[in-house]
């Protein structure tokens, strides 16, 4: 564990959440807590609100849930408004962040009391979360993989989110045109321009991710192969395609699919239909992967992303680990925490007693029925 201790205290550029107050968020009606640098452990029974605390931290920093759920679901059943407020430090500067959402209304993000957007948050803050639902990244439907990709690629390339938003706007206009039997073609040049940029960014990110994640997976699973392939709805795509290359392919495919799109009144070509194929031990994970294989592979993915973001952003991302140690013994827990070495702040949940070494490094909080008590 010496590795962790030295890593925690020798990082100059870091990101940490100093305090958080929560109102009306999932089962957390009113909570206020201060956190320590290093390890913060949320300990409590099932359904006490530990995972919701991690989700609140992620939403505070990046304006949306890591589980990709809509704000109406984040809202407490009995509340009409949720509000998260916190003090977050990054690269030596403190920011006051707030996220507020009213039922039926729009979400409002503020940074130091000034209204802001997602892209601004992504440019300042970075967070990686891992949890039991991550197995879905490999075994679930393609939309889960795209949501996962978008959340982390937006942190890796801040420009990406803006381009993706433009693409999605052009896409909803084209879909509306198809539904209303209007001419969709005026929106197509933009779908091609933005779509090609989205695909190019995804291809680059996934190729690096695949390389790094397969190395981690090989170590964690004692020799199993993890392969990751980007599979857009395009024929003849080369391993390295330029933005212009994607533009040409998209253009071709869109004109081929024109009649079919008009018939089904939906856009069938573009990055919104992208797929990522994972192979574990030589077989496609989605159909042949075991639960355990998918979870281990998902942890390898998150480890890889954590290191990629750390390198790219020049500071370790906020690390949120939900029940990842539940199935591991103490040695493997220590090994995994070591693999996430150099973190500046780690939040983790556990339903069993937290590993002793980790407890020594930080603060322990007991979570009971949506409330939090400082145990340290």
């Amino acid at each position: 564990m010496a590795g962790i201790i030295s890593a925690v205290f020798h990082i100059r550029d870091k990101m940490r959440v100093i305090s958080l107050s929560i109102n009306g968020f999932r089962n957390l009606t009113t909570i206020r807590a201060d956190f320590s640098t290093g390890v913060n452990i949320f300990y409590g029974a099932n359904a006490s609100g530990k995972t919701n605390l991690l989700e609140a931290l992620f939403t505070l920093c990046l304006g949306r849930s890591q589980r990709g759920v809509p704000d109406s679901i984040l809202l407490n059943w009995n509340c009409d408004v949720y509000r998260l407020e916190g003090l977050v430090e990054t690269k030596g500067r403190q920011y006051r962040l707030a996220v507020a959402f009213q039922r039926g209304g729009r979400k409002k993000l503020t940074l130091d009391s000034v209204q802001t957007g997602l892209a601004e948050l992504y440019s300042h803050f970075t967070a990686v979360s891992a949890g039991p639902e991550d197995g879905e990244i490999l075994a679930g439907p393609p939309s889960v993989r795209r949501a996962f990709l978008d959340i982390y690629l937006s942190q890796y390339t801040p420009n990406y989110l803006t381009i993706l938003t433009q693409y999605q706007r052009a896409l909803s206009q084209k879909n509306a045109a198809l539904r209303r039997e209007m001419d969709p073609s005026p929106f197509e040049p933009q779908l091609i321009t933005f779509g090609a940029k989205v695909m190019h960014a995804r291809q680059g990110f996934l190729s690096t991710l695949g390389e790094i994640a397969s190395r981690y997976h090989y170590d964690i699973s004692s020799g199993e192969q993890l392969v990751l392939m980007y599979r857009p709805t395009l024929p003849h795509m080369k391993v390295e395609t330029s933005v212009e290359g994607f533009e040409t392919l998209l253009q071709q495919r869109i004109s081929e699919y024109g009649d079919r799109e008009r018939a089904v009144q939906m856009t069938l070509v573009g990055p919104h239909r992208d797929e990522i194929v994972f192979e574990v031990g030589g077989y496609p994970a989605r159909t042949h992967g075991s639960r355990g294989q998918c979870r281990t592979a998902a942890i390898s993915l998150k480890l890889a992303i954590y290191h990629m973001l750390r390198e790219k952003r020049g500071m370790p991302p906020l690390l949120l680990l939900d029940e990842v140690f539940a199935e591991l013994d103490e040695n493997r827990t220590a090994a995994l925490v070591d693999a996430f070495s150099g973190f500046s702040q780690l939040f983790m949940t556990t339903a069993t007693l937290p590993p002793a070494q980790l407890k020594e490094l930080g603060h322990c909080y007991r979570v009971v029925g949506g409330h939090i008590e400082d145990l340290a």
Partner: protein
């Protein structure tokens, strides 16, 4: 609060419907109007009536006007061979302040937005095509640089170019006097794409 003055409450409610005006501002405005001398307040009422009765649309450029055709379309000092296409009358007013532009305008009255049910037939495109003849040397498309504005520009360019008329699009990039560091990434990308050689 307004139990004793129902008409004041009606005024507040009405003012609060204006864009950018909340209830607080509406109340402040209503009480300001209440305090005004009668002739001033009625002058406002007259101005509003005039706006509704006298202002209509120019049958040529579709801009708002009190005469038909409007002063811009009949101004002998303007170049008649260049037409600048904009979405709304406000855009034409903004461009008209620029000395560099001395041509004519055409106001579409909106932009393509299938999500809002707005298609080409809902815009003044037929009126624009009717104006295009061999005396027109250039059509400048100055719709807003958003997804819908760009799509409208694409649509118009496809219609007009085959007629042999030069079609141009206003440049997109950095605002003059702004700092690079505050520009968003899409704007910067556009600015880089549109860079010019010294």
């Amino acid at each position: 609060m307004f139990n004793s003055a129902e008409s004041v409450e009606r005024l507040v409610n009405w003012l609060a419907r204006l864009p950018g005006i909340g209830r607080k501002t509406a109340t402040r405005l209503a009480f300001h109007i209440l305090k005004l001398p009668a002739e001033e307040a009625l002058e406002l009422a007259d101005i509003i009536r005039d706006v509704k009765e006298k202002v209509s649309f120019c049958s040529v450029c579709c801009n708002i006007s009190e005469t038909d055709p409007c002063h811009t379309c009949t101004d002998p000092k303007r170049r008649k061979d260049i037409i600048c296409v904009v979405e709304e009358p406000m855009d034409a007013a903004a461009l008209d302040k620029v000395d560099e532009f001395n041509g004519l305008f055409h106001v579409l009255g909106g932009r393509l937005s299938p999500l809002d049910g707005i298609g080409p037939d809902d815009l003044k495109i037929k009126e624009l095509l009717a104006r295009l003849n061999d005396k027109i040397s250039e059509v400048i498309i100055a719709t807003n640089p958003q997804v819908e504005g760009e799509a409208t520009a694409t649509y118009l360019a496809r219609l007009i170019k085959p007629m042999g008329i030069k079609v141009t699009r206003i440049a997109r990039g950095l605002p003059v006097g702004a700092d690079l560091e505050y520009a968003d990434s899409v704007t910067l990308t556009r600015a880089l794409e549109g860079r010019q050689e010294f």
